[in-house]
């Protein structure tokens, strides 16, 4: 279309009809006024009808309308010269006004959205309960309410050739790691995709090792978490339509930390972190360790436990490793079905799976009771660290397979591989295991009292280290 030539109202009407391909929700109206025709264009369901009638239609239809759109329209109004931008703004929910060769947009957006609720996956006993929603502006406002500082920068950009999704980068100028910020901008610039519907898509596109089952980019639905992360020098990322905000870089230890750790007193916070770490180890290693011990080194098991294992395996048809693998797969099936089903049905599936199938399988002699206990314990421990769910699931299977083939040496080999892989991983050029700095140890697996946490994480922060005191 020609950018320079300005069509009259009929031409513009036809042009817009053509641009929006006669979509039923795209409303293009010709409003006759005292001073000629005005063309209005908007997406039905995305504007405030009351404002539209009161502040736009009524002034236009009034006898006093003399052709001065900015003065007549009572809402905020901006002039747009570029027709393409005019189209995009209409699609974003603004009201498009065309009169006498001039294009205006008026922000009277309003659409149905979910209210601010507590995120189900990040329940906390203490601390704010509010969570992000699918509305980008609500999310940025929630963040702005936490950090009322002019240095909080929210940079907007659009991703997705077709979806034209708004994405916002958030950081605190003067605290954020500039190298990370530059790298993020560079990787976002490289994204060339037709649609972005969720932060999960962006996460995979900006992660440099998407095949490894451990994300190096953090995710949260809670404004207080994101606020605390960016106050440590991290950068966050919002995506319109997603209640999940990303933050980066994310260190491995952060998977074992929760926002409420900082609201509780230090001893209990430390205890809970250690419990989570033990939960992580149990979840990843226990089934493999059990298989390795039972099949290669039964002498290392306590005699009474070995007797119990043997007595319960007496009638079972499968080898120990197959039994454990079968149970792990069953547990994953149950987890998946429980998550996808509606809440009421989900709990029913859990009960059927855990109690009925488990007990029936043991009674029928298909699997042994200790195997069920081991797998169930591993699954329960895995729920303690939900962020590492993908990682624990994959490595759990690797541990079981290697332990069944090589016993303790197999376990040790996988453990070395796992630690090596973790040590080699970087999140936006920052090693994810770099929490061993003396200042960071105060807030890693241990959590020192708040007054001792004087510095921001040294691995992330490059300048402006001090958090407490001047």
């Amino acid at each position: 279309m020609d950018q320079q030539k300005i069509p009259d109202s009929e031409l513009m009407f036809n042009q817009l009809k053509l641009d929006f391909k006669n979509s039923f929700d795209m409303k293009i109206e010709r409003v006759p006024t005292n001073s000629g025709e005005v063309v209005l264009a908007y997406v039905d369901g995305m504007i405030n009808r009351d404002l539209f009638n009161r502040d736009v239609i009524t002034p236009l239809k009034s006898d006093s309308f003399a052709g001065d759109i900015p003065k007549s329209i009572l809402t905020s109004i901006d002039k747009v010269d570029d027709h393409q931008k005019f189209i995009i703004e209409i699609l974003n929910g603004s009201l498009g006004i065309y009169y006498n060769g001039e294009r205006f947009i008026s922000d009277i957006r309003k659409w149905e959205k979910r209210s601010v609720e507590t995120p189900g996956s990040e329940n906390a006993t203490r601390g704010p309960k509010e969570g992000f929603t699918e509305d980008l502006l609500t999310n940025t406002a929630l963040l702005r309410r936490k950090i009322r500082n002019e240095n909080l920068v929210l940079e907007s950009r659009v991703l997705g050739r077709q979806s034209r999704t708004k994405v916002v980068i958030g950081y605190v100028d003067g605290i954020a790691n500039k190298e990370v910020l530059a790298l993020l901008r560079e990787r976002l610039d490289q994204i060339d995709i037709d649609s972005v519907l969720e932060t999960g898509t962006i996460e995979q596109l900006i992660d440099n090792k998407p095949l490894i089952p451990l994300s190096t980019i953090g995710m949260s639905q809670k404004p207080d978490v994101i606020a605390s992360k960016i106050m440590e020098g991290r950068v966050c990322l919002f995506c319109d339509g997603s209640p999940h905000a990303l933050y980066l870089p994310e260190l491995f230890i952060e998977n074992l930390q929760r926002s409420e750790d900082y609201y509780h007193r230090a001893p209990i916070a430390t205890f809970l972190r250690i419990i989570r770490f033990i939960g992580f180890l149990i979840s990843v290693i226990l089934p493999g360790f059990y298989v390795g011990m039972a099949t290669f080194n039964p002498e290392m098991l306590p005699p009474s436990f070995l007797v119990t294992i043997i007595s319960s395996m007496e009638q079972t048809p499968f080898p120990e490793a197959i039994e454990i693998l079968f149970l792990v797969l069953m547990m994953e099936l149950l987890k998946e079905s429980g998550t996808r089903l509606p809440k009421a049905l989900g709990s029913a599936v859990s009960i059927v799976g855990a109690l009925i199938i488990g007990e029936a399988a043991v009674n029928a002699g298909i699997v042994s009771a200790p195997s069920v206990i081991i797998v169930a314990l591993s699954a329960v421990a895995g729920f303690i660290v939900p962020n590492l769910n993908e990682f624990t699931t994959i490595y759990k299977l690797i541990f079981i397979i290697f332990a069944s083939l090589m016993g303790i040496i197999g376990l040790a080999a996988v453990l070395v591989i796992m630690i090596t892989q973790l040590s080699a991983m970087r999140s936006f050029d920052i090693p994810i295991m770099s929490f061993f700095h003396k200042n960071e140890l105060k807030d890693s697996l241990l959590r020192f009292p708040t007054r001792h946490l004087r510095f921001r994480p040294a691995s992330i922060q490059r300048e402006n280290f001090k958090r407490i005191g001047k």
């Binding site: 039964p298 005699p303 070995l306 043997i310 007595s311 007496e314 009771a369 090589m406 080999a413």
Partner: protein
């Protein structure tokens, strides 16, 4: 990338070759041995009897054994060597014998008395990669060792568990037995200046009606097991047994005794006392071809029964002081007699040679070969420094005279 792939392949290959994945064994194919009896006959054949846990008798709910099944299975093997006897035993079972959780090795007096047989037995135990060196090693004083499995075993379900726990409990409640595991016996054998000892058990017929044995495979036990005393060895040659009293002194000398209970006669009455956690300090010296052994024992004594008619509140403290002195004297005399009895057997079970070696290494090198002649004639002096503890106890006799 090529290097990475090569490294991963190398790790996997090395892991496979080093792990011995062929040694994988399904737990349900294991027959767990709880205790073994080793014996030999007049012709030099080894007789091995093992008590195997019957895992199918364990209820799936884990609430103990079911009533209709025996908790154990007794299996025997005979052969010209221990290995042959074990092979013979293995051939009779559909499962693989698993000895890593063996609790006790019962050795017959006949086996340990024959140095050649006993040495061959130890050679087998230490060559076998599966055999557990932490099993308790005890000598059975009787003939017909099978009767061990027909003896009452308290509330335990298996003889091995019973004897193992009994020995451990004995260490806490008395010092009349020694608790030596296989590797500890061998360690003392290899050490210079000390001769090894081994635990001892014996069974005797139960008097009166047979006891109901709730856990064991014999519902009506005809014998009772007692763990007391110790078997004394010179190198790998069995020498003799020592009784419970001598074993108590042995444990005091080795600082292994937690409590020693003893009675003392005083004013024609018996005073019962308990020596608690005695600590012995041994000094061995040599002067003009004569070895002197000085043992100083410090410890706390508790009076458990002290009721003498002429004691009243006024003289009670003074009489208790008198008891303290007499107890030291009593124990010192008893210790000297017991140690001399031990040395007279020709065995330095107290490790005096080891002590002398530590304090005089040069002299030890000169006399170590003739050490037997030295310790046999050693002058032993034992001194007890006891402290009567009366914490939380009444200060006066139970019956107060008006």
């Amino acid at each position: 990338m090529k290097k990475k792939v090569a490294l991963i392949l190398l790790v996997i290959c090395v892991s496979f070759t080093l792990s011995g994945c062929w040694s994988s064994e399904e737990p349900k194919n294991l027959a767990i041995i709880n205790s073994i009896i080793y014996d030999c006959d007049e012709e030099g054949n080894y007789l091995v009897t093992a008590q195997i846990i019957n895992t199918s008798s364990i209820s799936s709910s884990g609430m103990g054994t079911t009533t209709d099944k025996n908790p154990s299975l007794i299996i025997k093997g005979k052969g010209a060597s221990v290995a042959a006897a074990v092979d013979n035993m293995t051939a009779r079972l559909e499962k693989n014998l698993f000895a890593a959780h063996n609790k006790v090795r019962f050795l017959s007096q006949r086996l340990v008395s024959d140095e050649y047989c006993f040495t061959k037995f130890l050679d087998f135990i230490f060559r076998d990669s599966i055999a557990d060196e932490t099993s308790l090693l005890v000598v059975v004083k009787n003939e017909d060792l099978d009767k061990i499995y027909k003896s009452a075993i308290g509330l335990a379900t298996l003889t091995g568990n019973f004897v193992d726990t009994l020995h451990q409990k004995k260490q806490e409640h008395s010092s009349s037995s020694v608790f030596y595991r296989t590797f500890e016996f061998v360690r003392e054998y290899y050490e210079d200046g000390i001769d090894p000892v081994m635990g001892q058990v014996y069974f005797h017929p139960l008097e009166g009606t047979p006891t109901l044995n709730p856990g064991g495979d014999m519902k009506e036990a005809k014998y009772e097991l007692t763990s007391e005393g110790m078997a004394v060895f010179k190198d790998l040659r069995f020498v003799d047994f020592m009784d419970a009293s001598d074993t108590e002194i042995y444990n005091v000398v080795f600082n292994n005794a937690k409590i020693v209970k003893f009675d003392m006669f005083l004013d024609s009455d018996t005073v019962s006392m308990v020596l608690v956690k005695p600590s012995a300090d041994i000094k061995v010296s040599k002067k003009d071809d004569q070895v002197y052994v000085d043992i100083k024992v410090t410890g706390k004594i508790i009076v458990s029964n002290f009721f003498i008619y002429d004691i009243n509140d006024e003289n009670s403290d003074a009489r208790l002081k008198e008891v303290e002195a007499k107890a030291s004297e009593h124990l010192a005399k008893r210790s000297v007699e017991s140690i001399k009895r031990g040395l007279a057997l020709g065995c330095d079970i107290y490790g005096f040679g080891q002590k002398f070696h530590a304090s005089n290494p040069k002299v030890w090198r000169e006399i170590s070969k003739d050490w037997e002649n030295y310790y046999k004639n050693a002058i032993v002096n034992v001194e007890y420094k006891l402290n009567l503890s009366r914490e939380g106890e009444i200060n006066r006799p139970f019956a107060k005279e008006d």
